[in-house]
Amino acid sequence: MMDLITRFKLAARNAVRNRRRSMATLASVVIGFVALSLFEGYFVSVYSSLEDEVIVGERLGHLTVGKPGLYDKGAQDPRRYAFTESELAKATARLAAIPGVKLVSPRITMSGLVSNGDTSRIYIGEGMRADDMVALRGEKYANQPGKLDPQRTQGAVFGKRLAESLGLKPGSDATLLGATLDGMVNAVGIEVLEASATGSLGTDDKFVLTSLETARRLMAYEGAERIVLLLDDGTDLAATAAAAKAALAAEGIAVDVRDWRTLSVYYNQVKSLFDMMYLFISVVVAIVVLASVFNTMGMTITERTREIGTLRALGMQVRTLDGLFVLEGMLIVAIGCALGIAVTLAAGFLINGAGITYMPPDAAAEVPLVVKLVAGNLVGSLFTLVVLAALASYLPARRASRRNITGALSHV
């Protein structure tokens, strides 16, 4: 059995035997790898931004605890599916004790009309504790616009277009009208803290964020519709969700726990679109690399038919020959991918430093174009392309190495 060093030496020397052809293959691998990796890096950045946007920007946290049936029937019978004050107190204590839970944040959803005294618009809104918002944002997003003020419980943040349509500015007074939990019409006065773009055209002309106290006054209710949990680490949501369910079951409170990915329709739509685009690009790159390696190795193997016959005459096993050609194809692609990694890192650095911005669909503001390169993904792409190269090399090698020896030796 030929040793590994000899195999590598033979594969490496044969790889550079026809430099022009190998360079053409290398170029196609490098271009394909760079294109794939930059797209992947961009998608990772988009996913990461979307995750932050959903967890922090949409204030969904990692997990949302609600009564079973809340999302289907809560609007028809809100009291039945809300937590009472005592339930909320027990649930808060239990949930806060679960390891890894960083924040327990009760929420109330409301809707109705918002008026400036002269004219009204419909709104959808949410009530949350101002302190919870500070905790949810952390240091990273502490200074982002759209903050509630713990000192001003009547304060509210308006969607920018909603505030503009009502002519409201920071410091303006407005009135929220809505139904209490029992269905009675109610109204509360609020003060505009800030007009801030929600990031979505669909909600920017309707959204109002108030303190939990204001929402409770409007709804005439001291409990909460749902409880949002922020975790130290959002990697094992299922385990924490199960722990939350079990903890509340021990208090006799049946709950349904959903994670942010399930609740955010926007995230799922964007991610599935990008996943499909990534799959399409990956398939195109894979086909280019496969065809390129197949063509190169096919020509190489045909040219070396007599050499194949000679090695077999000397006693080399067919599988060893197959392995030599597969190794050669893998080596070319591995070198191409290594060069591709270097080019990708350089291109990513340049793109991230160029300060390019763009307007995504349904966005209210431009966002920076960022390529987030992940070592694991680069290595994964390299591994995938090298495996494909092995396949593309094996097929022509298999055909040649099983050829009749005398026929191979007399090949011209």
Partner: protein
Amino acid sequence: MNIVELTHVEKAYGKDQGRVVALHKLSLHVQPGEFTCVWGASGSGKSTLLNLVGLLDRADLGTVRVDGTDCATLGETDAAQFRNATIGFVFQGFNLVPVLSALENVMMPLQIAGVSAAEGKARALRMLADVGLEQQAHKRPDEMSGGQRQRVAIARALVNDPKLVLADEPTANLDSVTSESVIGLMRRLNDEKGVTFVFSTHDARLLGYASRRLELSDGRIVTDTRNPSERAA
């Protein structure tokens, strides 16, 4: 025991009307240590005979035994191992691997056999010295003359200490002086190492080196003569 034993061997190529019989019920015994020359015109069956003896091809009929082993009983894997261990090959076109140096080419059969690199290198260097090419060990085939390349090929054929070396027209691509020098080298190694050589040629000038001459015509042995006046290496 005969090193090569062919009994009523028949081999044909093609089908139906295009069928050409290359060997007609050919029987042959070669004893260990012989320096046998198979000669005849082009198409007489020389290469077919060597291919069958070298386990590079299979007979349609009859038995081919090499070193006591019936070649028909060996599968592809076993046949490859058998070739590696028992038979050395010298080809008309040298057939050296162009990306390997002379030394690495000679080491190849040892590497295939799983001999360690260090031992393989030492044995290959000794073999290159035997063929007078120790100074050319690190040259690649394209940096060597035709005669030197064929000497490397001979070293490669012998490095694994085979019992039999088959050389199909080893001088066909060489000039007359180099041809005689190459055959002379093979003869010397035959004498020194006792390895059996069977080579084919259509060059009558080289017949004098052979201890035995087999003349083939239309797939049949027409003369089989021992040469009492063979030339020394």
